[in-house]
């Protein structure tokens, strides 16, 4: 059996799959009438595809890939604004490598770099801080991107810059939060989700209580999970057990890393530096109330929006998604990546049209990398 060699603990994986099968049968889940479980985190999506969990699992359990890949939900207008800032004289624009190939309306950051802008990939906001120290004659801007996992890093970097009085360091804040888009999905009348696999590393920062509303107000189970394959299977089993017992609760499968109340230092730094925006735009999902963060006025000196007059501080530019792109439908679970007319044709990881094809955590790139490419070839 192929998966035996791929799993570190094949016996455990097999036992979990058997348990899942038993419960799925008991609930009456079938290929035609499946239980829909959304994994929110892009890391989970990647892991599900890497280990083929979607194929190994009972056919009555269907994974819906959620909006938890920050580069995938980044609107084109934000990329355009990055390029605009990078084009200002004396600016060194720094970003996580993941964001380099996200298509803007005209080009990506990678293409802007090739065209001469000083754009540098860094591993950490700490690298950007160090660049600012070493280049006092330049404005060093860091592209603050990601969910609650990376938000503490930019908050702490801004606090450090403030302590040092580093006037040439700023953050272009595009941080987003996990609970609000889940609420938006649950409020969607087309929503067909039966339960959630909660993000592990986001929850390490925020704890498990921000998900209470999912169980209490919407009556859906959610299990916070690690990203190893047996973690995911265990978590699916826990979701199914709740459904079978008619319960809805927030449970923590990843307690070895996720404390109930999150990380106090991180939460304090986030609260000190950031506040919620009234709403924020998500690619494929549109504006979602209170789903994005901005830098508080006390730290305005480190806010690239204020410094350069772009983004939500300047004139808002709304841009429709490129024609023929089905990213929105894929992200809300209404369409499978392979059913997008652009999949593998106008859109590949080398030449992404939509953002879901950019990162290995995007659903389309995951489909492509682990078998989707073959599916297209077979169809042609």
């Amino acid at each position: 059996m192929k998966f035996a060699s791929e799993f570190r603990d094949p016996a455990l994986a097999r036992a979990l799959l058997a348990e899942i099968g038993k419960l799925a049968d008991q609930i009456g889940a079938t290929r035609e009438k499946p239980i829909h479980i959304m994994e929110i985190c892009g890391g989970h999506t990647h892991s599900i595809f890497r280990y083929g969990l979607d194929k190994l699992i009972h056919p009555g359990v269907e994974f819906i890939h959620g909006p938890g890949c920050p580069v995938c939900v980044l609107p084109r207008a934000r990329v355009d604004e990055c390029i605009e800032i990078a084009g200002r004289p004396g600016v060194i624009f720094t970003t996580f490598g993941d964001a380099m190939r996200v298509p803007g309306s005209k080009m990506s950051l990678l293409q802007a770099k090739a065209a001469g802008a000083d754009i540098r990939m860094v591993y950490s906001p700490l690298d950007a801080l160090e660049l600012a120290r070493r280049n006092p004659g330049h404005q060093v801007v860091f592209f603050g991107l990601g969910f609650e996992t990376t938000t503490p890093s930019t908050a702490l970097a801004i606090q450090q810059a403030a302590r040092e009085g580093l006037g040439n360091f700023s953050v272009f804040c595009n941080h987003i939060t996990v609970p609000e888009p889940i609420k938006a999905l649950l409020d969607d009348p087309h929503m067909c989700l039966d339960g959630f696999i909660g993000p592990g590393h986001v929850s390490m920062v925020i704890g498990v209580h921000p998900y209470d509303f999912i169980a209490q107000d919407y009556g859906k189970p959610i299990v916070v999970a690690g990203f190893e394959p047996t973690d995911l299977l265990q978590s699916v089993l826990m979701v199914l057990a709740q459904i079978a017992e008619g319960r809805a609760a927030v449970e923590n499968q990843y307690a070895r890393v996720v404390p109930e109340h999150g990380n106090a230092v991180s939460l304090a730094a986030i609260a000190d530096v950031y506040e919620k925006r009234p709403s924020f735009e998500w690619r494929g999902l549109g504006e979602i109330d209170a789903s994005g963060l901005r830098i508080r006025p006390a730290y305005a000196a480190f806010d690239a929006e204020e410094k350069f007059g772009v983004g939500y501080a300047g004139v808002r530019t709304e841009l429709a998604d490129p024609e023929g792109c089905a990213c929105g439908a894929v992200m809300t679970g209404r369409m499978k990546p392979v059913d997008c007319p652009q999949f593998g044709r106008g859109c590949t990881p080398e030449m992404p049209l939509g953002a879901l094809m950019v990162s290995s955590e995007g659903a389309c790139a995951a489909y492509w990398q682990y078998g989707g490419a073959r599916a297209v070839e077979a169809a042609e």
Partner: protein
């Protein structure tokens, strides 16, 4: 970017800035330890942490660190993170002195 990588704290490098040296898959990299700091920073030395974009975010035991690293290798994420660290080092050396000249 979203998944952390385990590293072992080998030394405190700058207590005031809450910085420490960590060893990640044989590569040394300075990280911020503010989020995992206890009363005595020296107690961190030798411990394993889950490191996200240069910040130690959670302390984990050695066994969990080894398992997590293996899983990240299987996913290709560990290799990607190490490449990004090298990229970050290169960015610091990059063409950046025009302003000072």
């Amino acid at each position: 970017m979203c998944l952390g990588i385990p590293g072992q704290i080998v030394a405190i490098t700058d207590a005031a800035r809450q910085m420490a040296m960590a060893e990640v898959s044989g590569v040394r990299r300075e990280v911020n330890v503010a989020c995992v700091l206890g009363a005595d920073p020296a107690e961190l030395v030798g411990q394993w942490a889950l490191i996200h974009v240069g910040f130690a975010m959670a302390l984990i035991d050695e066994d969990e660190a080894a398992k997590t690293l293996q899983a990240l290798h299987d996913l290709g994420e560990a290799q990607e993170t190490l490449a990004q660290m090298a990229e970050g080092d290169a960015a610091l050396q990059g063409r950046a002195t025009e302003g000072r000249a």
